[in-house]
């Protein structure tokens, strides 16, 4: 019974975070990052994302025209770096405003 309850909470928590993943990713791409470094940056800030979710998401955001990418060879292997393009920057600003409004509303509701 307790385990079933824990499972249900974990599932709802995952659902809750899923909605915020895109905003979290966009927020870290004001500067160029490659998949692995982005995942580490998000995890360090308390937003761990499964690599199997993150890497395809980056491709999808690029296909949707909000990210730009290029291959760079610095020290080590060639890596594909992603960065917000002008459309992505506008999208991030809009989503951030919506996020703040949502957080304010939710705070009023839950407090």
């Amino acid at each position: 019974m307790v385990k079933a309850n824990e499972d249900a909470v974990a599932k709802l928590d995952t659902e809750l975070r899923r909605g915020a993943v895109v905003l979290a990713v966009l927020s870290q791409l004001r500067t160029a990052q490659y998949g692995y470094s982005l995942r580490q940056a998000l995890a360090q800030r308390g937003m761990p994302i499964e690599e199997g979710t993150l890497y395809p998401l980056l491709r999808r955001l690029e296909e949707q025209g909000v990210l730009a990418s290029d291959w760079r060879i610095n020290d080590g292997p060639p890596r594909r770096y992603y960065k917000l393009n002008p459309r992505g920057t506008r999208l991030l600003a809009e989503l951030t405003t919506n996020w703040h409004a949502l957080v304010a509303t939710m705070n009023q509701l839950v407090d």
Partner: protein, 321 residues
């Protein structure tokens, strides 16, 4: 296998299931990311990266067909991406069986080709629709009633619309499967080559004296013109399979020879089915051609899949030091 070989094997497996235009791009990116992940996992564990660790990281990342499906465009999908190759293979097999069972009516002159096509030939494609509906229903059932992640048990309703679970990935499995296939193909091929060269003569020696084996006699023209090159091709293939079994792996030149012989053999057999009488006895001829046609259609699909797989090798990028 070392870490790089294991990652390459995995990446090639993923790439084989991606649309052609995305293969190299996604494959190259994944290789970099997964290599880095294996290195990082090794660092955390305080040891150098090894094959065991690479397999662990890749298993955690997902089965190749699952990973490829994550890169599929978002939106409604009637059939899960990971099941599309299976649906295609099953459709080809169903069509081949229907054609093979009904084509003797044409070979034995009971139907014209046009009549057969209208009655049996075209309708075989209905299997595609049946399979699409089946897999779509199975997909809906699997989404609606998912597998219990803690036990891995499939709910009972899954058996109502059963579809196989995609196979787990094991590094180097393709090479091992090919070696096993070569090992099995050599003796079976030898037996078939002998039987194919003179079936009536062999049956005459195997069966009790007095049993009529004239139904197994080849048509004179087939025996004179087409049988010798067919037997020659079969014999060369046998030598090749035996060589590969001894050397334990297929290399680029042996793969190319194998492919050439395979295509040549299948093309000659298609010609035999549609352009020649193979057996002198009409019933033997019709039944054998039906079986042969099934064999040929399955081989044609296998050749096409082989070409598709062979084209998938994500290129290497030289690391800057």
């Amino acid at each position: 296998m070392d870490t790089h070989a294991i990652i390459d094997d995995y990446i090639n497996n993923v790439a084989a299931k991606l649309p052609r235009r995305q293969r190299n791009d996604i494959g190259l990116e994944l290789r970099t990311l997964l290599t880095e992940q294996v290195r990082s996992a090794a660092q955390s564990a305080g040891r150098s990266p090894d094959g065991e660790m690479a397999v662990e990281v890749l298993r955690h990342f997902g089965r190749p067909d699952e990973v490829a499906a994550r890169y599929a465009p978002a939106g409604f999908q009637l059939i899960e991406s990971e099941y599309v190759p299976l649906v295609l293979k099953l459709a080809a097999i169903c069509i081949a069986i229907q054609w093979a069972v009904t084509l003797p009516l044409v070979f034995s002159a009971r139907l014209t080709f046009g009549e057969w096509w209208l009655r049996w030939g075209f309708s075989a494609f209905a299997w595609c629709g049946v399979l699409v509906l089946w897999f779509a229903a199975a997909g809906w059932v699997q989404r609606r009633f998912p597998v219990d992640p803690s036990t891995g048990a499939r709910p009972g309703i899954h058996w109502l619309f059963w579809v196989p679970f995609p196979k787990d990935w094991h590094p180097g499995e393709a090479d091992a499967t090919q070696r096993r296939a070569a090992l099995g193909a050599a003796p079976i091929g030898a037996l078939l080559t002998v039987l194919f060269s003179a079936p009536a003569w062999i049956l005459g020696h195997l069966l009790p004296a007095g049993v009529n084996t004239s139904w197994a006699l080849y048509d004179v023209n087939f025996k004179r013109w087409l049988l010798p090159p067919l037997i020659a091709l079969m014999a060369v293939r046998l030598v090749l399979f035996a060589t590969v079994t001894l050397s334990e792996r297929w290399r680029a030149p042996t793969e190319a020879i194998r492919f050439g012989l395979w295509v040549g053999f299948v093309a000659l057999l298609y010609w035999a089915v549609f352009g020649w009488h193979i057996f002198a006895h009409p019933l033997t001829d019709a039944l054998f051609k039906a079986w042969l046609l099934f064999f040929l259609l399955v081989n044609t699909v296998q050749i096409l899949l082989w070409i598709r797989r062979a084209a998938v090798r994500v290129p290497q990028i030289i690391e800057k030091r």
